[in-house]
Amino acid sequence: MSVSVESEPESPEIDDAVPPAHRRFGVAGWLAAGGALGLVLGLVGGVLVGPTFTRPGENSAEAGFARDMSTHHAQAVEMGMLAHQKASDSDVRTLGGDIALTQQAQIGMMQAWLREWKLGPTGSRPRMAWMPEGSAGLENGLMPGMATDAEREQLRNATGKAFDVLFLQLMIKHHLGGIHMAEEAVKLTDNAEVLRLAQGMVDNQRNEVAAFQLLLKKLDAPA
């Protein structure tokens, strides 16, 4: 800094041929000034905008996944709690409680992400729009694998072994839909936290589907 200050006294010795004002700067000078201006604006812009671009945005795959999987999970919690309360097979009861607690905890994680990203729990785009051709996977407006209102009512009213079987069948369908969505999130995201949870869902729910199928076999019912 003071280097340039010290060099100033030397300038008067320079030849005083006067060029037109606009040429004093020269093309290189303009380019340098333009570059400097760009840098300053970029810096200011970066400080202002940076956080918006470095965290997932309103229409990001991460936000879509967090919102949609929360909803998908919420239905598994509903069905899991029903199983925990009224399944006649103790393995089914245990699984129901396990599913409800695990998925409710995961809902909490996903909702916390949204808050950290300064995003609301409700998106402005249709369900599954964050997935390539995702909206085509909706069935009557429901995400893949979700039980319909009629199926939910059927499950609420079922008792005994019929309940256990229906729960396992609905839950297999539910998990397969959830696995599909989580796999898409794994493909689309580069966010370490999202990746970790989504991959965990894929692995865990695959294992659970296998467990459901074993239980159906035990209950002598079709998968």
Binding site: S7, I14, P20, V27, G34, L41, P51, L142, M143
Partner: protein, 281 residues
């Protein structure tokens, strides 16, 4: 820092400038530090550069009406290149900064502000009558000052709000509890044409923290409620329905993390006092 700090009274003379060369290498090993060597050469380069360009800093000082010859005419043309470049850079930068700032502002706007921006919405949380939003549990039928209510004491059991679409009126005592958990209650005037009802149901079905039911003799076709908030509308096509849901669903909860499943799924306006008989047992 060490470069810009002059070492003692050691003065550099422009004589070094004339050669534009570094001092002999042997010198740096003597009393002259290597930093001062670097400084010398940098000033030298600067001066040489200035000298190489006719004009330089003296240009401004020298413009005292001396020799206004041919170049002056050239100066009348504008340098469109640099101007265009600056304008382009400026416009792009302003656009990026402006959009980014706007998006950041919008994105981080609290839900309360988004709700307040919805025209026609009534915020009863600010109402001096605090009974409108008190939240104790109680058995039996309760009276509410608003129809539909937006809060207040309520039944121990909540109405299931897993996107449930009820086709008959439900008990406010349960629905108020659902709103305490963060649900948006979509109420419509009983008797609304089926296609309009279906339009509303499409916004509710499959979405947890939502429930929908008809109300007899409702004073508007549609009434949206969340804890402490209400918006009455005439048309199921009103864009404010989505705005209300987006701003308030889950956000309006006064019991963070509370769920919507495990609630009452039956219809009927008389609250179900499940568990009441077990009291005192």
């Amino acid at each position: 820092m060490s470069i810009s700090t002059p070492a003692g009274d050691n003065k550099r003379r422009p004589s070094a400038v004339s050669t534009g060369k570094k001092p002999p290498a042997g010198k740096s090993s003597s009393s002259t530090s290597s930093t001062s060597t670097a400084r010398k050469s940098s000033t030298a380069g600067k001066a040489a550069g200035a000298a190489g360009r006719p004009g330089g800093k003296a240009g401004g000082a020298g413009g005292k009406g001396r020799k206004p010859i041919t170049p002056v005419k050239v100066s009348q043309g504008r340098s469109w290149g640099p101007i265009a470049m600056f304008v382009a850079v400026g416009v792009i930068a302003a656009g990026i900064i402006g959009y980014g700032s706007w998006a950041a502002f919008k994105g981080s706007q609290p839900w309360e502000e988004k709700a307040a921006d919805i025209s026609g919405i009534v915020n009863y949380r600010d109402n001096p009558d605090k009974t409108l939003t008190e939240a104790n549990h109680a058995w039996g039928p309760l009276t509410y000052k608003l129809t539909p209510p937006v809060g207040g004491n309520h039944n121990y059991n909540w109405q299931n709000c897993m996107g449930d679409v009820y086709d008959a009126p439900i008990a406010s005592e349960h629905a108020v509890h659902s709103m305490e958990h963060g649900a948006v209650w979509v109420a419509y005037k009983n008797g609304l044409p089926a296609d309009q009802v279906e339009k509303l149901a499409g916004k509710v079905r499959g979405n947890e923290y939502m429930l929908m039911s008809p109300i007899d003799n409702l004073d508007s076709n549609v009434s949206l409620q969340a804890w402490g908030y209400q918006l009455k509308l005439d048309s199921v096509d009103d864009g404010r329905i989505d705005e209300f849901i987006s701003a308030l669903r889950q956000n309006a909860t006064v019991e963070a993390g509370a769920t919507c499943s495990g609630g009452i799924t039956a219809t009927g306006t008389t609250p179900r006092d499940i568990g009441k008989d077990q009291q005192g047992g």
